[in-house]
Symmetry: D2
Subunit: 359 residues, 4 copies
């Protein structure tokens, strides 16, 4: 941390900063510049609360040098984290994982049908919302527990791992009971009680970047998960808010190589929410793989015009087929490949075991 | 709602849109333009899910005309909502209400001392966090229940109403028991389970605008509260995210007259979070009052350099004195005045009644 | 400047950075931190090109401490710059200056009529575009030279100073011949050939902040003007681009006290372009004065619905009257006052001297 | 265009809007909705100035349906524009064109050396600035005419086409004399006098998207060029301003398929300026090709740490080699290929013909 003094700061003001740094348990290292003096604070681990120093007279600026996150950083752990999704699929290794499914679970036929279809087309993971955070209180809010049961049934039938969202701390345990991966949505990226519960629920967590979250904030949100003891965190770029109403979001694909250079956690991309419109999903899925994404999460619906939510950005199944084919080619062009879909379970739903134990 | 067709849309595609609108229970009204055809959807109340139409072939664009919110709108209720804060202070009328206090409750002496001080200086409401949402898991997270108890004690001693934040649905009832106003923070503006609980907790709610929330999203979040039966909602502009790292946020003061033209709910401003730096709080508080804010919420600490959070943006008590004086002059210049602080309670803390009933 | 090394940087890489700093003529001052090493570069005046250092192996980050601008800074000159507008009005002192007039000069009757009217209502400066930068090539582009002549005639009739925009380097001399203040529009804030010409044209310059310009970029653009020898520069906040299509721009009023703390130049505000809609102009003009603006520039048209450009944000003359009255009250509330309009010239247009000499 | 009336608009106010539309030469088509009335304006071609209507009493909102641009649109011309760069390379067809070279021409050896090298590595076009728009007046501003001469010499030696920037209207003719493609930089995207000159200079124009330009504004800027008679316009996405200081810009790759759906003009991408840092250039170049870019423009320097500008984002020549190889694979994965570099001219610089005629 660097404390930049005002060009008219008095020696007494400088001394007060030096003394305060000492009181806080760190060392002060003044640097005399051309126009002003700056004081380095050394010996810190990124957790210094700068407000006390910022409040002192004569201080013009505080510049943070250390990163405020720890366990998510490459400094903490150098090798890539590889997350086991429980159905034989791993995320964070050389293979690129395709997650696909509807925005929301709408009924048994819908989810079982689309699950079978996306597995055939190359997906390894089934997505689908049972609890939906909706901007308007008058929109469809999901099937709740019944949705979770149907997702679990779809898993048993197809072998796909299931990712679905938890929206409140008290619902995390329930989601963890039925899902293989707990999703934290963009609107909840800084919902800290929810993060704490998700971090201790014993299942991998898929953390979506908030609508206007900086990379540092995304990594600090992930730090909440890791600090609860959960090493299996997957980050997801899904578009950030920008100034042009022509596009729903700006898909910040540069975040993929950037985040991967700062953290050991795997990073996937969501071209459906990032673009908001069906015709742009496949080109941007290709771009995400080319940029180095470890996976894709894509909305697919058996008949998008009938979807209860997100119909405009949901692919038709045939379009998923094209997306998988093109992204497979892109993956091979950069020396990777798509993760193959899981084997079809032998007995399928007859096994009777729908709810898995939390690991 | 207007469905704009592609310039090469076929008559069959147009007919399909017209038919679908009919199936959805609305009327279609085609308008033939110079370059393309648009189809008006009439008879709707703002709640139409456009995705089904957006998914049809030949549709280029969907333009929403009706507002998606209802009960918060001026169309629903024309006269201004005035919120009674329970201590004789009302918000939303001609008087401008000053809320002041520390970022967080840090201890008994701190909160009782600063409460007495801010009342003397002209505040009517005490702010102070017991549960703090913090970007880093390693930062001070608040005193929890003990903080609530101390806030209630400060209320009994000073007559100030108390506003404090709830961060999780299961904590709302507890906060409602101790506070006069339940605050929903910027990071939780779209935490829908939390909004639903707060909307049915029987106390006024102070809803802060999210970091990158549009005005429409802010009003839809308020709609969640009203749709739970709570008419006493106060909106708060606290700065939005922008591109210049030189300032923490951009204080969107135009939102004040704009929001007041769209909704009957009162709107206050938070110059502390909007600017992030002490020297800018007073000028921006003045600007907020000049723009028409119904109140201010300001961070004040007995000794900001020692604050456990937000020290850099907290005023010294003497600075609050100056702020109140200047904002009073501004209020009078536009025909308003500052709400006077409440009478000091006769028996004070000796009354023994610290927790109020939920209304 | 601080060069932050990667946590696995080798001693040889560190030495190479130290040596390079030496070759560049500065001193290197290494600081050993908890997790990584940083190297201070001292002896610089803000003009160091960091790219050479950023390109070295092992360098993770470059943090700039010195400001990159000089002559515009408070370090260079501490007391406020006061700009003499040539008609007895000065800008940058205790009085708040009102500039008003139509978006564009549309004809003789229009500009002479509105000039007389805005003077009566309290303005000291007449605004009006002769050369208009328009987003579409098919929009009205201004009257050109004829517009300049009419502005000069309006000045002779009213005593108002005239501010009008120059849009190309080769047009600056012409504008300087007719106007009292040369305006550089938001779209041209980084048009460097234009800035250089304007900086050497011998008239004060009004520099509008670019649509997404940071404060640092605004000050660097002003530095171009001062480095050409022109000390009479007025900065103008006019709204910046943001994410909410509901408002045309976000009016960044915090920039007013912030910019005034960094530079000695006066700062005015343009509530017309910042809000884009007539009903928001007056409240935001009040807010700008409350925040400390040294002046206002406001669009007024004799009959806004007939305006050839910017009709939606132009005030009716009666609305300017209300704005002046309210802003006068606000100014007095903070110990300032509005600059009075100039005396009406004795002989008016009969003087025959329409074009002034360039100072 | 849709004029949305206030919910309390009177019949007389509605009639006034209908009458005004008639006076403007269009037809009014009222649509009675659930909560309010909207009036369609039909018969327009996108060029309606809405301000006159927005200024009428009772009007709440104006919604634009027609696009404000014409000649650049797919409605105007359906098939893709293919631009001939004059050296046998065409841009806008199936082949992806690589443009490479230093930020600025720094001297004869530098530019001739790097030109030969980038041709060997697979580039077809040489980039290099002779006139540099720099944020600070104290930064290197380019070699000017001498730079143009050296670029022309490099073209004669290598067969590469040359793209270089024009920064002022009066300099366009000179640039057109020496260059094959005139670049308009991001800061000048809305410099209309410059666009008009470039549109009539007889050479293809490369138009970079402004730092916070919407897609509509980019296309309107291109419309300026086409309306001057120049059909050979290449658009370039180079990153837009966003809220995270961690990255210089956000690379808006979704703009590539989006812009290509709206216009017939070719679109290229600039991963150097979009990312600002060398290590991110190659992954984002891959992503741009995967998203459908028709070309890439990349900064390469013989020794980036010695570059006079943009050193941190300039590739080493060996890194260009890797970029070309990877982007070639990506192009093939989506059924395209990289344009091969031009043949080496037979006599090279000995031909004596350095300046080409303007076509």
């Amino acid at each position: 941390m660097l404390i930049v003094m005002h060009h008219r700061a008095t020696p007494a003001q400088v001394q007060k900063v030096v003394d305060t740094i000492g009181e806080m348990g760190y060392r002060a290292k003044p640097m005399v510049g051309h126009l002003r003096l700056a004081i380095g604070l050394v010996g810190n681990d990124g957790g210094v609360d700068s407000a006390r120093l910022a409040g002192l007279d004569g201080v013009q600026d505080i510049i943070k040098v250390s990163k405020p996150y720890k366990q998510v950083s490459r400094e903490w752990r150098d090798e890539d984290t590889v997350v086991d999704l429980g159905n034989g699929t791993v995320l964070g290794g050389p293979e690129v994982v395709v997650m696909a499914g509807p925005c929301a679970v709408e009924g048994r036929d819908q989810i079982l049908g689309i699950a079978a279809r996306v597995r055939e087309l190359g997906a390894s993971v089934l997505r689908g919302g049972a609890f939906k955070p909706r901007t308007s209180p008058y929109s469809f809010q999901g099937l709740g527990l019944r949705g979770l049961e149907l997702l679990a049934e779809a898993r048993e039938a197809t072998g796909l791992a299931v990712v679905t969202e938890a929206v409140a701390p008290e619902g995390v345990a329930l989601v963890a009971q039925y899902a293989d991966v707990i999703q934290i949505g963009a609107r909840n990226m800084q919902n800290y009680p929810l993060l704490k519960k998700a971090g201790s629920a014993g299942k991998p967590v898929l953390l979506k970047r908030g609508m206007s979250a900086t990379i540092t904030e995304l990594l600090l949100a992930a730090e909440y998960l890791l600090s609860e003891g959960n090493p299996d965190v997957i980050l997801c770029e899904r578009g950030v808010r920008s100034f042009d109403p022509q596009t729903r979001n700006v898909f910040d694909l540069t975040a993929i190589p950037l985040v991967k250079s700062l953290t050991h956690l795997p990073v996937i991309a969501d071209p459906s929410h990032a673009t908001g419109v069906r015709t742009k999903v496949t080109p941007m899925a290709r771009a995400a793989v080319a940029a180095g994404a470890d996976g894709l999460i894509v909305e697919v619906h058996p008949n998008p015009p009938d979807a209860l939510s997100d119909g405009a950005q949901s692919l038709y199944p045939d379009q998923l087929s094209e997306l998988v084919s093109q992204c497979g080619s892109i993956a091979r062009a950069i020396g990777r490949s798509l993760a193959p879909p899981p084997e079809l379970p032998a007995a399928g739903p007859a096994s009777g075991r729908v709810v898995r134990d939390v690991r």
